[in-house]
């Protein structure tokens, strides 16, 4: 039997078992059973993915599974790459669920939630191996609905969850409609529903049709990926969903949006004109900058991570856009480099975002709050979680020796080599892209210093943070697995080069120009190289040597009170909060963010010169959302109110509507 088939069968089968088990097991054992089964199912997915990236192809038609079109599965190297991501994230989430959802059997531990969770993971595993338009649409919709149900898990406890659910439902369905129209149009124009048929016929389509299809698919996939300006669901859904669901959505589901763009743009439509990719690159630049600015000023830990997802998707889209533009300019070397960076960054982001959302989930579980201004001091009660979150933050800030650094280095190298004599658009776009990546990285560093520094260090800022306790072993194990993944990706990314070569060949981009040296990356055609392992070992070894040498020369350390200006002991209220930490940055980007500030000064009754109290309130609205979506939402609401007149409650009227509709359809048929 083909290993891919076996792996996929195991993945879906185990997921179904988990789903059924969630209904049948008592609440005390439910989380454990489902968690273990999901984790094993994820591991099977990883195995299938690895088999697929080694170049074993696999195709299967299952005509009986879905009505009308049947189910077509087709696994190539690209499918394998994303299958590995989904499987690995599923494994970590499975282990995490044991501790996170174990407990009183409510909320994330409820029967419904644990039944839907494996369905969601299985649907995600099937998306990259879908081999025809109906199959892709079916599993895509299954994934969307399952994730919506999971987002709504805690809808009884918080009103914000319901609002997030509505936003997510509306946007994901709008995106689905765009995909439906785009892909069906493509199928109709090529006369084939299978990807193989579309691939061979797409070259003969008129440019207007392929352009329209690409834009529709881009809208659908980019909204799932959370690219600005199609992002408003993302900070809501990621923040309000239970953390194990946030992990799955942010680390795996949004990547499938990226997969869709790659599959349709490069594989099915075979490249296309340059303006497509300039649009994608512009979308990416906007997402990266806007996402990270919002993340930098966010006070809610999970909202911060969610906007950071938008930022990383932005960087990925920027890379995809450049791949297209560079390939169009005939610079296959730089194009391959950009695509290598994109693929590595999807894996890296999946690894560190799994870890960070797992850490955020532990914090929320331990303290009951997500707000950074109320956290702090968690390093003492939760040392292991803090260490893991710091590892993830190092990667998310793209600092060496984190894994994010490797992919950003590759991305920058692609922009730095547009080639001599490149045309005007590329000559201008390349330095701008470098500037965008650099500013994004810089602000990302601020963001994650804020997240770690104010969330975990110094003194607790509230009672709930002071009462925090370390998470159970299963959650720590899950974080440990994710952290190990981050470390492996950081030090030996070169191991992925054979797989990358096959994926790139599948996308008609030649091979990857990244040569594997001994434990390092060396770029063919340019003289750039980086040795992540040496870098990591060097930093750790030299730091250790410096610390040990300094210690052995001097005297032992002493605890002392910090400088309090002679005014008695420092309290938590004197610390810099997350809001105050981000204030200078927010002032610099005032014109972009447009924060709403509110200062109330209460004066003493006796003298207007004496101030009794000052209340400062600030909120940073999502401007793009307010400008772009508010009018649409208002219009829809107004139309809805008007349309109420049509539904008067009279049965005669409804029957008349039906009659009119039937007559119109028949008349249309007759005229034709």
């Amino acid at each position: 039997m083909n290993p891919i088939a076996a792996g996929l069968a195991a993945t879906t089968g185990l997921a179904m078992c988990a789903s059924v088990a969630a209904i049948g097991t008592p609440s005390r054992w439910r989380a454990r059973v489902v968690g273990v089964l999901t984790a094993v199912s994820g591991t099977a997915g990883v195995a299938a993915g690895i088999a697929a990236v080694t170049g074993i192809g696999w195709r299967a038609e299952l005509p009986g599974v879905l009505p009308l079109a049947g189910l077509t599965l087709d696994a190539d190297a690209l499918s394998g790459w994303f299958l590995v991501i989904v499987g690995a994230v599923t494994t970590v989430v499975g282990i995490y669920t044991i501790g996170y959802a174990g407990g009183d059997g409510r909320g994330p531990g409820s029967g419904t939630s644990l039944t839907v969770l494996p369905v969601f993971t299985a649907a995600m595993a099937l998306v990259p191996v879908a081999g025809s338009v109906p199959t892709l649409l079916a599993v895509w919709e299954l994934m969307a609905v399952a994730s919506l149900l999971l987002v709504l898990t805690e809808h009884r406890h918080r009103a914000a969850v319901r609002s997030a659910g509505v936003w997510y439902a509306a946007m994901t369905q709008a995106g689905f409609v765009a995909l439906l129209v785009g892909l069906l149009w493509l199928a109709a124009a090529t006369g084939s529903v299978s990807f193989a048929g579309i691939r061979s016929a797409a070259g003969h389509l008129p440019a207007a049709v392929t352009g329209a299809v690409f834009l529709l698919c881009l809208a659908g996939f980019a909204s799932k990926a959370g690219a600005v300006p199609l992002h408003p669901w993302l900070p809501r859904a990621h923040a309000e969903a239970p953390s194990h669901v946030s992990m799955l959505m942010s680390a795996a589901m949004v990547k499938l949006g990226v997969y869709g763009i790659l599959r349709v743009g490069f594989d099915l439509l075979g490249g296309g004109p340059r303006w497509w990719w300039l649009v994608v690159a512009a979308l990416g630049a906007l997402s990266a900058l806007y996402g990270i600015m919002q993340a930098a000023v966010a006070g809610d830990l999970k909202r911060l991570l969610a906007f950071s997802t938008s930022e990383n998707i932005g960087l990925i889209l920027l890379g995809i856009g450049f791949t297209g533009v560079l390939a169009h300019a005939g610079n296959t070397l730089a194009a391959g480099l950009a695509m290598t960076a994109v693929l590595l960054h999807t894996v890296n982001h999946a690894a560190f975002k799994t870890l960070l959302f797992a850490g955020a989930g532990s914090v929320v579980r331990a303290t009951g709050t997500r707000h950074l201004d109320q956290l702090g001091g968690l390093v003492r009660p939760m040392p292991v979680t803090t260490a893991f979150v710091a590892t993830g933050a190092l990667a998310a800030a793209a600092l060496p020796p984190g894994n994010g650094f490797v992919s950003e280095w590759l991305l920058l190298q692609a922009f730095l080599h547009p080639g001599q004599g490149a045309d005007t658009a590329l000559t201008i776009a390349a330095p701008l892209a470098v500037a965008v990546v650099a500013l994004t990285t810089g602000v990302a560093v601020v963001t994650f210093v804020k997240a770690v520094g104010t969330g975990f260090l110094a003194r607790p800022r509230s009672d709930c943070a002071a009462r925090a306790v370390e998470s159970p072993a299963s959650m720590l194990t899950a974080m440990g697995v994710a952290a190990a993944g981050c470390v492996a990706l950081a030090v030996v990314p070169a191991l992925a080069t054979p797989a990358l070569t096959r994926v790139l060949a599948g996308l008609q981009l030649g091979g990857t120009p990244v040569n594997r040296e001994v434990l390092g990356l060396h770029l063919a055609g340019t003289a750039a190289s980086v040795r992540p392992l040496w870098l990591a070992v060097g930093i750790v070894a030299v730091t250790g040597t410096v610390a040990v040498t300094a210690r052995s020369l001097g005297r032992a350390r002493r605890r002392a009170i910090a400088w309090d200006c002679g005014d008695g002991p420092l309290t938590a209220r004197m610390e810099y909060t997350a809001t105050s930490f981000a204030e200078p940055l927010q002032r610099v980007f005032d014109d972009v963010l447009a924060p709403e500030r509110d200062i109330d000064v209460t004066h003493d009754t006796e003298s207007a010169y004496h101030v009794a109290a000052i209340r400062y309130h600030q909120q940073i609205p999502d401007r793009i959302e307010n400008r772009l979506y508010r009018p649409v939402v208002d219009t829809v609401a107004a139309v809805g109110t008007r349309a109420r007149a049509l539904a008067s409650g009279s049965v005669h009227r409804y029957l008349a509507y039906m009659l009119v509709a039937l007559v119109v359809v028949l008349v249309a048929g007759v005229i034709r």
């Binding site: 005007t424 658009a425 201008i428 701008l432 610099v588 014109d591």
Partner: protein, 219 residues
Amino acid sequence: MSHDVSSQLLNLACGLFLLTALGVLWRRQVSALVSLLTLQGALLTTIAVLLAAEHHSAAALAVAAGIGILKAGIVPWMLRRVHRLVPDARETRPLVNISASILAAAGLTLLGYAAARPLVAAASSASGRATPVGLAVVLIGFFLAATRQRAISQIIGVLLIDNGIAAVAFLATGGVPLVVELGVSADLALAVLVLQILTNRLHATFGSTDLDELRELHD
């Protein structure tokens, strides 16, 4: 002077020419703006002299001398006089803040470069390849005139536009016909005079040269 050195000097002068425009955007003190404008006039003269030397043309050298007297001498002198009469020391409230102005200038420079790409491609000499600089200064001048509140800053914006046009003319053609350049400069002198009178009147009547206050009169 070898050809190579001369073209390097020309590039240097063009680079500094653009940087003075950036300096005008950055500084708020009116006196500093006038000094920068003087420097820019001197750089424009340098460019003209270098081009004249390259073409061994006496007429072009005469134009360069005229430009030098006008742009590094008379115009700054007049601006200093206006400034002495109307002592608005600083540009206090630009419509677009300084950092954003500089980033916008970067964008405009890129645009100038993109727009002048055919000229650059067609140019045979090193001087032709520097034409985007002139175009960028024209755009920055427009931007300055559009976003500043004080009348004197706006005059400076207009002068930047004129310097930019002159630079484009020089660099693209390698020396302009004398008559055209003199005509343009005479126009400019007239414009400065008119603005000077206007500024004085405005100051005498309202005690300020904030142009937005004129609009309030209209309302």
